[in-house]
Point group: C2
């Protein structure tokens, strides 16, 4: 019997891909059908994908970029005023989340945070004066991502703010992020009321120096290890950081007891401030993330996504292989749970550099480790597991340190491949806080969002343009 | 058509229970078979079960007992030397884990811990002298459970040891447990080397007073709330208490910064001691458990299991409806992961009052909340979920506070019903540390064990003897 004869001699078992009507027709004739999860590539990428698929240079570049991403070892070493350490941060520069934008383009929460930073820095006495100065271009605005930094939500970093200093002793990499202010009415959500400014001043006067002293006494804090442990304790590293915050306090707590840089009451207040805010760890994860993706950046031909970031107006990505170029699309609206009487109508479009957590295999990619997060961002525990499973379709590796106990310690899906995103139509999952769309409102909710496909389409077409045909 | 005719007119769908050969025979004739999970009642319980099943008094008693168990609100309020607060603990009394036993009956680790307590209390200068005095009956031995207390592993409580004081302001209940020493060579695992005794002395001189002061400054610590939060962070409350220990440190940390009862270095040492031991919270859970089961005890006719405890020689249980009586069987051997070069041959039979965690819906009953525990006790994450699911078969309620995120926040299976255990043949699952069988060795591993059915058979027969036929 020939191979074809043998095949036809038995009952057929059919694997189907794509259009459901074909699978259904077979099934109605009692044929055993196995459906594969398949959808057509994103519109406008067929040529680019064909070219990239046959290019050995892309595969080799991705291996190099992923190896660098997975080799990063970020350690928290210090807390210092931003103006003293962040490269290029002059007295008249404010950093912000996401791709570049102007005051005219800025969303409500971004404007609110910039106004608050003007008041905090003493560059304006009133919100009106701040608006006038910002509109006149008195302040240079630049993305955090252009200055080795990452900021949650509006992500505004001004020179007086204390920043976390995260270093990798092996690679020499350095990255920065602000200290987390807590939830509710806070600058990063666009609030700038007097209590918001007062808290920021307490942060640079007390929190920064005292926390920084405790970090120096405790020695470098291995963030990769701390994040890995937190994932075993139900964190996702983005919107659930309760375990990470707890483990951080455990790490520096004895130093806070022993420190002599401040009064007992100031040290107790610092302990209580961190204790009162389960998101405190987020900014450490983000600085660790920035160091990690910077290590993987600039590998020619690599389709690895090194940046996903939103400024409240646009969503932007960068690839390792396309240099400093941003690929942007309008920032999407978040599907979320809203606080109190707020509704989706109060929500600003997606904002913040915190999607850097997803970029390194955390957040929406690690939700299977964090079923309790659904109380904050919505959905079911089963859905959280499904979201993680879907992300294995578009990533290059399973993270060797970030393991998910309920998936029998499988590593989180890590290293988004723009080629896989466009080829499968599966968009990166992000969980996120939601800011009010009016300046001054603050946080209105939290939820889930998917990165816009248009960014990835532009990115793979640009990448393909630089690749020689094999 | 009659009901019977209608039934026979269609293709049969058969539900089978018990013997597999019948289900298999039907299936081989292409009959649709749904197997139920059924096994015959435990041998020797048929009469008792028939009597108890038809007794409304049992059902009513169980409702009362369960309501009391679920209403308990244990709070940690203080830390005080045992001799000052534990009722009936004279200078010549040592408490121990499990049902009553004599020196002659005591296992290796129990003997080791009793020897260590003699040295620690200054009642003997050498191990040999301690053994001679203990064998001569110089010390009264009594179960912790007879003195409002619970102790892990050997569970020895002697008068100088500081104990956690746990109260329920509503019910007036009080319970006690020692402070956890850490892992490895520690008294509760039967070690009594000089460093073990030295650590115990530091605990009564420094840890007890400083930790107690921090507890009093922080106000009563709501243990039910703390345990509930820890379950959302991957604890099971028995052998994984990393989150609970972290949250406890967060709760008392600011007070440790502010305290003035001891030197800065002693306070920092207390912080570091708790931080270095992820099992520190276990003893708090156990004291909370003792308060909880005591509240549910003494309800005539109730088949609720209020005690499961092991002394290294025997496994004993008590029911709410059978007063102070113990129902015992030989302590089983634990199926576990062994440390270093230790093997099962080095293991003592099951020991400790810590199965009180399982008695209140934690530990082996809550393993679905704690997939990462399998790294400590063995097995797979999927197996951990299955163990929890099996326990719903033998429990009366789903705990309203202790919820399991991955099961969509279903409450843990809580309140073991001895009737259900004997009727289903499903034995309570316990996860546990394993002590070396020779005195002085200490911990050799951790693993899983099931409560012996013989205890439950005696218990239901005794309970049935006190119930009038309906």
């Amino acid at each position: 019997m020939s191979g074809l004869e043998r095949l036809l001699a038995a009952e057929p078992v059919v694997v189907t891909a794509g259009v459901e009507v074909l699978a259904g027709a077979l099934e109605s004739q009692s044929v055993e059908v196995h459906r594969t999860n398949w959808s057509p590539p994103a519109h406008g990428t067929a040529g680019a994908l064909a070219k990239l698929a046959s290019a050995p240079a892309v595969r080799e570049a991705n291996q190099i970029a992923m190896a660098r991403l997975l080799a990063a070892r970020p350690h928290l070493v210090d807390v210092v005023p931003a103006g003293r350490v962040v490269p290029g941060l002059t007295e008249r520069t404010f950093l912000h989340a996401g791709p570049p934008l102007t005051w005219a383009e800025a969303s409500g929460p971004m404007r609110g945070a910039l106004i608050g930073a003007m008041l905090y820095e003493g560059l304006a006495a009133t919100p009106e004066e701040a608006i006038s100065n910002l509109a006149a271009g008195d302040i240079d605005l630049a993305p955090c991502h252009h200055h080795q930094s990452a900021g949650p939500m509006a992500g505004v970093i001004s020179p007086s703010m204390p920043v976390l200093v995260v270093e990798d002793a092996d690679s020499g990499g350095v990255a920065y992020s602000t200290l987390n202010e807590g939830l509710g009415k806070v600058l990063r959500y666009g609030a700038y009321a007097p209590e918001v400014i007062e808290r920021l001043r307490w942060m640079d006067r007390v929190l920064g120096p005292v926390f920084g002293d405790a970090v120096r006494r405790s020695g470098p804090v291995d963030l990769r290890s701390l994040i890995a442990q937190a994932l075993q304790m139900g964190d996702d590293g983005h919107n659930r950081n309760r375990a990470g915050t707890s483990l951080l306090l455990r790490t520096i707590g004895a130093a806070l007891v022993e420190s002599d840089v401040a009064s007992v009451s100031d040290r107790a207040a610092v302990y209580s401030f961190v204790d009162s805010n389960d998101h405190f760890m987020l900014n450490l994860v983000m600085a660790a993330g920035k160091l990690t993706v910077d290590a993987a950046s600039g590998v020619e031909h690599s389709s690895l996504v090194t940046v996903m970031a939103r400024n409240g107006t646009e969503f932007g990505i960068r690839l390792s292989g396309t240099g400093d170029r941003w690929f942007t699309a309008p920032a999407p609206i978040v599907d979320g749970l809203f606080l109190g009487s707020f509704t989706a109508a109060d929500a600003s479009p997606d904002i913040g550099d915190s999607a850097i957590t997803e970029t390194i295999g955390l957040g929406g990619f690690a939700m299977a480790a964090s079923p309790a997060i659904v109380g904050f961002v919505g959905g079911t525990a089963t859905g959280a597991v499904q979201r993680t499973l879907a992300m294995y379709e578009i990533t290059m590796a399973e993270h060797p340190s970030y393991q998910i106990p309920i998936l029998e310690f499988r590593g989180t899906p890590t290293g988004i491949d723009a080629i896989l995103v466009t080829r499968t139509g599966v968009r990166p999952q992000i969980n996120t806080g939601v800011a009010g769309k009016e300046p001054g409102v603050g946080m209105v909710g939290a939820g889930l969002v998917e990165a816009p496909m248009a960014c990835f389409v532009q990115a793979v077409n640009t990448l393909a343009g630089g690749v020689a045909v094999a």
